[in-house]
Structure formats: C-alpha cells, structure tokens
C-alpha cells in the first residue's frame, strides 16, 4: 500500500533522476523484470514458511475443533465448538489472560525505553562503547532457561544476592518469587534485564543508518543534545521503533519460560500465562484439541493488538 502511494506521487517529484527514469524506453521491461524477480526472490522464503509454519498453523486450527488426546492420534473426532465453549468458562484462562496482559503492558514501554537508552549510550564515540555493547548484550546470549535458574537463586529470600544488596541499604529481605504480589514484578524486572540487549542491538543498527550530516546540520543550527535527539534521531528511527514496539509486544505475549522455571505459574496462579497454559494443556495434560483452541484465541488477541499498534505507529 505504501508502495502504491509513493508511485502515485512520483510524477510530481522534481528529482531530475526520476525525470530521466520516466523517459527511459526500457521502463516497462524493467518493471516486468522487477515483478518476476520479486516473486523469484521471495519464493524460497515463502515455500519454507508455508511448509514449516503455515501448514502447522492450519493443522492446529483444525485440531481446535477436535477431541484429540495426544497419545491417541488415531481417535481424533470433530466436536465442533466444544473446546471454545470450555474456554469461555475456564477461570484459568481468564486469569492467564489477565497476567499476560499485565506483563505486556509493563514490559513493552519499559524495555523499549531501556533498550533505546542503552543503544544511545553505546552509540557514542567513546572508548568503552564496544565494551558496553558486550556487557549489555551478555544476558541475551545466555539461554532463558539458564537465566531463569540463575535468577531463582538471586531472588532467594534468605541467601540471594539481591536481598543481600538490599540489606546494604537497610531494606529487609523481600519474598520476591514467594509472594503473589511480587512474583510477576520480579519476573518483569528479570525479563527486562535479559532482553533489553536484544532490542538495543536493533536500535543500534537503526542509529547507524542515521546520516551523520543531519547531526552536523543540526549542530550548526545550534541545537542541543535533547533537540538533536527529538528532531534528528527519533524521526530517523521511525521504522525501527515501530518494529521494536510490535516485536516486543509479540514477544511479551509469549511469556512462558520464566514462570515455567521460576514459579511454576504460582504462587496462587499469579504468574500463569497464556502460552504456559497452552503448553500445560497440550503437553502435560495431553489435550491437543483444547490447547489448539487456546492457541487460536491467543493468536486472534495478539493479532488484534498488533494491528491496532501498527495503525497507531504507521499513522505518524
């Protein structure tokens, strides 16, 4: 759509290069060549995606209308909307939805801000910039399962590192993962620590695409650092920021490993999430049909949220 819009405005462009192009007699063949090559270039990706992602998604969609016990693949039967009906009355589902929403709402803005801050910090031309990149990125390189085990020790009530630091400031031991009120926030804090480096790298790549000249021009106009950030950096990061926000939202919705390893979804269900639930129903309880129905609903919810975000972000 964006492409079409640009095409329409093209004739009014005063750019001399474009004028030349318009008069080029080869233009039609070039355009056709682009179309053919476009399909050709995207074909490998599309074939792979179809086989290993779209096909499984279609299968999962079909399973959601079935009574399908994982250990009895031969006895699948269609049961219409039964799985969805069950979902509506399942208190666990509503609780998981609430927890997932809370996590997403807190993590997305916070983590993106932290990531942007880190990226700006290590984008500076200072000696320690590249060391900083390694430091900030290092939590990302360790697998989430590992990090989760590690932080369970760090959050330990009596012996944990975090409480021993808090004690230095006169703060008494906190229950963290043992408290229904603190468990999710503890997971949020740890998740931001773990993943901020991921978004930092994307922002950093974006910052590298901002032409140096724009800053120089702003400097000549006497802009201070904050003005430069607002008037040069942020607009140049438009596409990247949209990308980071949408991606982080989707990733946040998929929260699973942290509560699975650290809290078992507890205490009192305070860290049970949607993906946790669909894993539990599908694998632990081996009810593929119900698990697939949760997947479908999850998909619809996240898709709606992403579409709304895209609308807001692309509107400019």
């Amino acid at each position: 759509m964006e492409a079409a819009k640009k095409e329409r405005f093209e004739p009014q462009s005063p750019n001399p290069i474009k004028m030349v192009k318009r008069n080029n007699p080869n233009r039609m063949t070039y355009k056709r060549q682009k179309k053919v090559l476009g399909i050709l270039f995207s074909l490998p990706a599309l074939v792979l995606l179809f086989t290993f992602l779209i096909l499984p998604v279609i299968l999962a969609f079909i399973y959601s209308f079935m009574d399908y016990a994982m250990l009895r693949p031969g006895e699948k039967t269609f049961i219409g909307l039964d799985n969805y009906q069950r979902l509506l009355t399942d208190g666990n589902f509503l609780n998981a939805l609430k927890n997932t929403m809370y996590f997403t709402a807190v993590v997305v803005p916070l983590q993106s801000l932290v990531a942007l801050g880190l990226a700006l910090l290590v984008n500076k031309k200072v000696k320690l910039a590249s060391l900083g990149r390694v430091f900030f990125f290092s939590p990302v390189v360790t697998s989430m399962v590992v990090v989760a085990i590690l932080w369970t020790f760090l959050y330990n009530v009596e012996n944990g590192l975090i409480n021993s630091v808090l004690n230095l400031f006169g703060i008494p031991n906190q229950p963290f993962l043992l408290s229904p009120n603190q468990a999710m926030n503890s997971i949020i804090f740890m998740s931001i620590w773990q993943a901020a480096g991921f978004q930092m790298i994307i922002f950093l790549a974006g910052l590298k695409e901002v032409p140096e000249e724009l800053y120089e021009a702003a400097e000549i106009d006497g802009a201070n650092a904050w003005r430069k950030f607002l008037n040069v950096t942020l607009p140049a990061l438009k596409h990247v920021t949209a990308f980071v926000l949408i991606i982080t939202t989707i990733q946040a919705f998929r929260l699973f490993v942290q509560p699975f390893v650290m809290t078992n979804g507890g205490p009192s269900g305070s860290t049970k999430t949607l993906v946790y639930m669909l894993y539990e129903e599908g694998f632990q309880f081996r009810d593929v049909g119900y698990s697939s129905a949760i997947s479908v609903v999850f998909f619809i919810i996240v898709l709606s949220v992403s579409l709304i975000m895209k609308k807001i972000l692309v509107k400019e």
Binding site: D67, A69, M70, L71, R72, P73, V145, F153, N156, V157, E158, N159, L177, L178, S179, P180, F260, V261, N264, G265, G266, P267, S268, G269, E280, F283, Q284, F285, R286, D287
Partner: protein
C-alpha cells in the same frame, strides 16, 4: 559482506558433510552398530530402547547390561539404547508424546510409575501379563504401580521411597533419639516437636528440609502424610475425587504440613544443599540421596522412618521408573526376553547398587548386606512393609500438577480447604472429559 559470508558458508557446509559421514562410526557406537547390522543381515532383530538420563553410575550400569545382552544374543538380537534427557520437569515425557503421535515409539521404554495408567489407557503400552519370570518375588508396590485395570503393564528393577534423614550431631546435642524400628516410627506430634526443638533461626538452622521442587516431587513426598491419616486423592477406580481430595482427613494432613511452614520450621526456598551444609537438622528426601551425602564427609547423617499420623497406619512413598512394552513393537517375544533380563535378580541388584535405590525383587536384598543394617535398613523396611503407590488414574497428570500447585499455595499460607476444593473440581472435570 558477500565474501566472508560465502567463505563461512562453504567452510561450515564442507565440515558438516565431512562429520556427517564420520559421526556414525566413531561417536555413538551402539547406534552405529545397529545401523550396520540392519543393513548387512536381515535375520537380526533390532530392538530400540529408551531410558531417561539419570546418574552416571546408573547410565553406566544400564549400558553394561545392554551390551551383555547383545553379547549373549549375538547374531539374533541387537539392542540399540538411548538415554533421553529429562531436562526441566517433563522433557522425557514430551519426547514420548511426540513419538507416540507419529507411532514411532521404541520397543521398550522406561516410564515413571504414575504414567502407567495414562499410557496403558491410551494404548501406547501393552499388557505383559504372563511374560515376567518369577513375578511373586517382586515387592507388592511394584506390581500395584504397574497394574492398570486387571492387567500388568510395567515392571521395574528398582523401587524407591522417601525417608527422614537427620544430622546425627544436631540431634544428639538436642537430646533427641530418632526411632530405629518401624513400630516405633515417630508420630506427627513427635516429629513436629523434634523439628521445633531443632530449629534455630538465629543461626539460620531449620528443623527440617523438604525440597519444594515443582513437578512430581510434591505429591511423591507428601502423599504418605495424607494416606497415613486415612485421607486420599481419588477413588480406587478413578471415578471421582470429590469428597476424597477434599475430605477432612486430607485437609487435616495438609494442615499439619502447613504448620511447619507457618512456624518457620522449614525453609520455603532452601538452597539445594541446605541439609548437607548443616543448615537443616532433618530432611525428608528420596532414598537415592544417601549416595550423594557421601560427598559431604563433614556431615554425619542417619535415616529414620517417615512419620505417621497418630490415628492411622505407617505409610511410606513408593514408585520408581519402570519398563513398559510399546504397542508399536513388532518383536514382542524378543522385547519380553530383554524385559526379563533387565529385571532379573542379578541385574536388579546391579541397578539397585548403581542407583542407591532399594531393589524391586525381594531376593535381591539377600545380596545387599549393607541394607540389613541401619541406616539403610530403614529404606528396606519401608519398601517391603509400608510402601504405597501414587494414585492410578488416567487423570493423573492434572491431579499431580494441580495438587502440586495447591500445596505450594498452602505452604505460603492459603486456606487448605479452598485449595483442595479447587483441585477436586479441576480433576473432576478432567475425569468427565476423559470418559466422554
């Protein structure tokens, strides 16, 4: 970009092709020999076997047994065995589920006791009635755990239990003498009083330690407290849980355990080596743990019996990994031969010694002289006299998971009845779903 990209690509590809060809013959010999055999001679029966990865000693013992079997049946049967990681909680079960969904299960597979009902009911393992030699030699709990409906589906070489480990020095100092015979096993009150006396929060010492692992452990270690009080989890025929899971007896048993948490006699987030480091005076732990305690020579330890309810019987946990025959096998006869070899007296003894767990055959204990003396005699007594298997129901996965969550909440102060009511209603719904 282009240059290094292609360079790296060609190196990786070339190396991959190279190792892809060689990895079969030098790295994993058992797998390789299997592949070669099936190619060269058509008469050899290939059996595949899965077992979860466990301790190094156990893996070594099993490997030896399989190799010996291969040697005995050279040219006739060739076993290829794999040790599958258990990972975090249920990795092994997930792999079995995936294989079952594509009918590619191995001929023999190891499974945890409580999975027997679910696997048998789903038809992924088959009855082995009449295929097991000298079956009267097995302790009762092994047979009970392996039975679903009226048929035997699984049998294992070892048993397991949970007992009360204690720090000898600390108990002596406090003037506490733990019981040394089954008849004198502590009642709840005696156990509670001991824990209370031994707790010394000033010095960071807890009266008792029980690991609060997620997954299977919670029902395994706390079940006997419930049974001992004449409580339960589900009807014998698996038809209902309402009024059993949330019966007054079950509630009372968990209120007893809750008291330990409320009064700070147990650490809700213990370090993995709390007892070993001398920060807990007693520990409710699996029978395998005594082997690991050897690594801590500074801590002198003993074992006493699982405490019993004042108004009930002495009960102890039981249930270990057992062997089942998959319905995908085309070599029932050969698989049965291997199954019997794995669980015969000699190998049962070998595996028991390797794992530090009690044997499943009574006759194997004749050669386990160490187990006739304290402290190991405690474990043997429990296995032979008082062991109780976990519930046998196709709804077990839901029951175990939801009960585990409830106990977690109960220890953190939740209302016992409310929690158990919720477990009961969720399990009830699963029973209904399964009977649909």
């Amino acid at each position: 970009m282009k240059r290094w990209g292609l360079g790296f690509l060609s190196i990786v590809m070339a190396a991959g092709i190279a190792t892809g060809c060689s990895s079969n013959d030098d790295v994993v010999s058992n797998e390789a020999s299997n592949n070669n055999q099936s190619g060269s001679s058509g008469d050899v029966v290939n059996l595949t076997v899965w077992h979860p990865e466990s301790s190094r000693e156990m893996t070594a013992a099993y490997s030896e047994i399989f190799e010996e079997f291969n040697e005995m049946h050279k040219g006739e049967i060739e076993v290829s065995y794999e040790f599958i990681p258990r990972g975090n909680q249920y990795a092994y079960e997930d792999q079995v589920s995936a294989a079952a969904s594509s009918s590619s299960l191995p001929d023999l597979l190891s499974l945890d006791g409580p999975n027997v009902a679910n696997y048998a009911d789903s038809g992924i393992i088959q009855p082995i009635d009449g295929l097991v030699d000298n079956i009267d030699d097995f302790v009762d709990s092994v047979i009970v755990q392996g039975t679903f409906g009226d048929e035997l589906y699984a049998i294992g070489p070892t048993e397991s239990t949970v007992a009360l480990f204690y720090n000898v020095e600390m108990l002596e100092e406090a003037g506490i003498t733990p019981p040394t015979s089954l008849e004198d096993a502590w009642t709840w009150d005696e156990f509670y009083e001991a824990a209370k006396t031994l707790t010394d929060r000033e010095n960071g010492i807890y009266g008792v330690n029980w690991t609060l692992d997620y997954g299977e452990w919670i029902i395994y270690f706390s079940g006997p407290t419930v049974w001992s009080n004449s409580g339960g989890f589900i009807a014998e025929d698996g038809s209902t849980t309402e009024g059993i899971m949330n019966s007054p007896e079950t509630i009372e048993a968990l209120e007893f355990l809750q008291k330990f948490a409320e009064e700070g006699l147990v650490n809700l987030q213990p370090t993995p080596t709390e007892f070993e480091d001398g920060n807990a005076a007693m520990m409710l732990m699996g029978s395998w743990q005594w082997e690991n305690l050897k690594e801590y020579p500074d801590t002198e330890w003993g074992i006493t019996y699982y405490p019993r309810s004042p108004k009930g019987e002495q009960v102890s946990p039981s249930g270990d990994w057992t062997w089942g025959m998959s319905t995908n096998t085309e070599h029932q006869e050969e698989a049965a031969l291997l199954l019997n070899f794995l669980t015969n007296e000699e190998n049962g003894l070998k595996l028991a010694l390797a794992s530090g767990k009690p044997a499943a055959r009574k006759s194997a204990f004749d050669n386990m002289t160490e187990w006739n003396e304290l402290p190991l005699r405690v474990l043997k007594d429990q296995v032979i006299e008082t062991s109780h298997p976990r519930p046998r129901t196709t709804s077990y996965p839901v029951l175990s998971a939801r009960y585990g969550e409830a106990v977690q909440n109960i220890f953190l102060g939740a209302d016992v009845k409310e929690e158990l009511d919720r477990v009961a209603s969720e399990v009830e719904r699963d029973i209904e779903r399964q009977s649909r």
